[in-house]
């Protein structure tokens, strides 16, 4: 078995036990990564229920494909890739990718308007409120680190569409951040 050469020994053991169908090991793997993966899923979906559906389907896929993991990267990164793809499949299934919204003209905010620290749950909510297309491209580009060519291939859109969706997403997020700051200041 060519797996897990570079993994820490605890993960190596865990993967091997999961491959043997050990349910306790599967639970341990789930406990180790489900929190972070739920957060990933929440960024791509609009509700917690949808996110949990993606999470469960993603883990089912992870357990069924664990024998394909060759240990060529971190286990967490491999799990995250599967989860992101599962989220994209979910969005496609819902057929609500790239539902354009009428965009209001927004004034550009300067970079100085962005504070250093915000509450993560608030930021998550801001992402959730974005139209699906904006949200998906922003997540893939800004947080997962894919480039526009890769995003274009994954979503079957042109690079220019990816760029324009990202730009619109940033604009909307910037507006939401300003509103958030204003509310915080008044309180």
């Amino acid at each position: 078995m060519g797996i897990v050469r570079n993994l820490p020994s605890s993960e190596k053991r865990l993967v091997k036990q999961c491959l043997r169908g050990d349910h306790e090991a599967q639970r341990e793997l789930y406990d180790r990564y489900s929190g972070e993966m739920l957060s990933v899923c929440r960024r791509y979906t609009q509700s917690l229920e949808d996110a949990e559906e993606v999470l469960s389907n993603g883990f089912i896929k992870i357990f069924s494909r664990l024998d394909q993991y060759r240990g060529e990267g971190a286990l967490g990164a491999w799990i995250r890739r599967i989860m992101v793809r599962e989220a994209l499949n979910f969005i496609r299934y819902k057929k609500n990718l790239f539902v354009e919204v009428e965009e209001e003209r927004q004034s550009e905010f300067g970079h100085s308007n962005v504070k250093d620290h915000y509450d993560a749950e608030h930021l998550l909510r801001m992402i959730n409120e974005l139209p699906t297309g904006y949200r998906t491209v922003f997540n893939l580009y800004a947080i997962e680190g894919y480039n526009h060519r890769e995003i274009g291939e994954m979503l079957e859109i042109s690079e220019n569409t990816s760029k324009s969706q990202l730009s619109k997403a940033r604009r909307q997020l910037q507006q939401k951040l300003s509103e958030y700051e204003l509310i915080a200041k008044n309180n």
Partner: protein, 240 residues
């Protein structure tokens, strides 16, 4: 590398490692799904075990035949015993003349011709005129397969007693002499180990064939050697 857009940087910093607690129902759904799936490696184990069980059956058959004389089942004057597979008809066995060179199917000849007669037959303690016949594995493929004991290299030219076709032209019955194989075989640990390794390799190769959707094949007999494990070896392996 260009600096990251501040909006991107902010969201990445706060959300990339962010964690949420999933509802327990999520795990219950996953666990319920996992209950219905068999671990792949466990499946491999069972297929291997199935292959080995096949070998156990074959080897038991061979073992009992080999020892039947030793424990007095075989009459002392019964120098030959004809053994064939389940398709064998009794009337085909009873009146086999001893040492008769029956007509050999051409593919049997072809197979036999592959074996060089250079192999020496160990006939330690063998009694003159005593002929033992080991069970014949039968197969429905074009080339007949001889199943001979590894530790007694068999010269086909000398020991092949008879090959004949029965009802099914692809099923052959082959008789061979088998010299006394007591001695080394029972006591030499190295020989036992070699046999064990090769038998395990054989079982593995059969597993690969089954996995690929092919049928089981009998041991390769290009060198006229049998590769069948003894039951006690199998027992040891599985009792670990």
């Amino acid at each position: 590398m260009s600096s990251k857009h501040p909006i991107d940087a902010l969201f990445e910093k706060e959300l990339k490692e962010h964690q949420s607690s999933p509802n327990e129902a999520v795990w219950e759904k996953i666990a319920a799904n996992q209950q219905g799936t068999k671990p792949k490696r466990e499946g491999i184990f069972f297929l291997r075990a199935a292959s080995v069980l096949l070998l156990v059956g074959l080897s038991s058959f061979w073992y009992l035949n080999r020892h039947s004389g030793d424990i007095g089942i075989q009459p002392s004057n019964a120098q030959q015993e004809f053994v064939a597979g389940p398709d064998d008809k009794p009337e085909n066995n009873t009146d086999e003349p001893e040492n008769t060179q029956t007509k050999e199917p051409k593919n049997a000849k072809a197979k036999a011709s592959k074996t060089e007669p250079k192999q020496k037959v160990k006939k330690a303690n063998s009694k003159k005129g005593t002929a033992r016949v080991i069970p014949i594995l039968q197969q429905k493929i074009s080339d007949p397969v001889l199943a001979l004991n590894d530790l007694n290299s068999i010269d086909l030219e000398e020991n092949l007693e008879g090959v004949e076709t029965i009802d099914d032209p692809d099923v052959l019955k082959i008789r061979v002499n088998l010299s006394d194989i007591k001695g080394d075989y029972q006591t030499n640990p190295k020989a036992k180990k070699d046999l064990r390794q090769r038998m395990w390799a054989y079982a593995s190769s059969q597993y690969e064939r089954v996995k690929a959707g092919e049928g089981l094949e009998l041991p390769n007999t290009d060198d006229a050697k049998i590769e069948i494990p003894l039951p006690d070896f199998i027992n040891r392996r599985f009792s670990k």
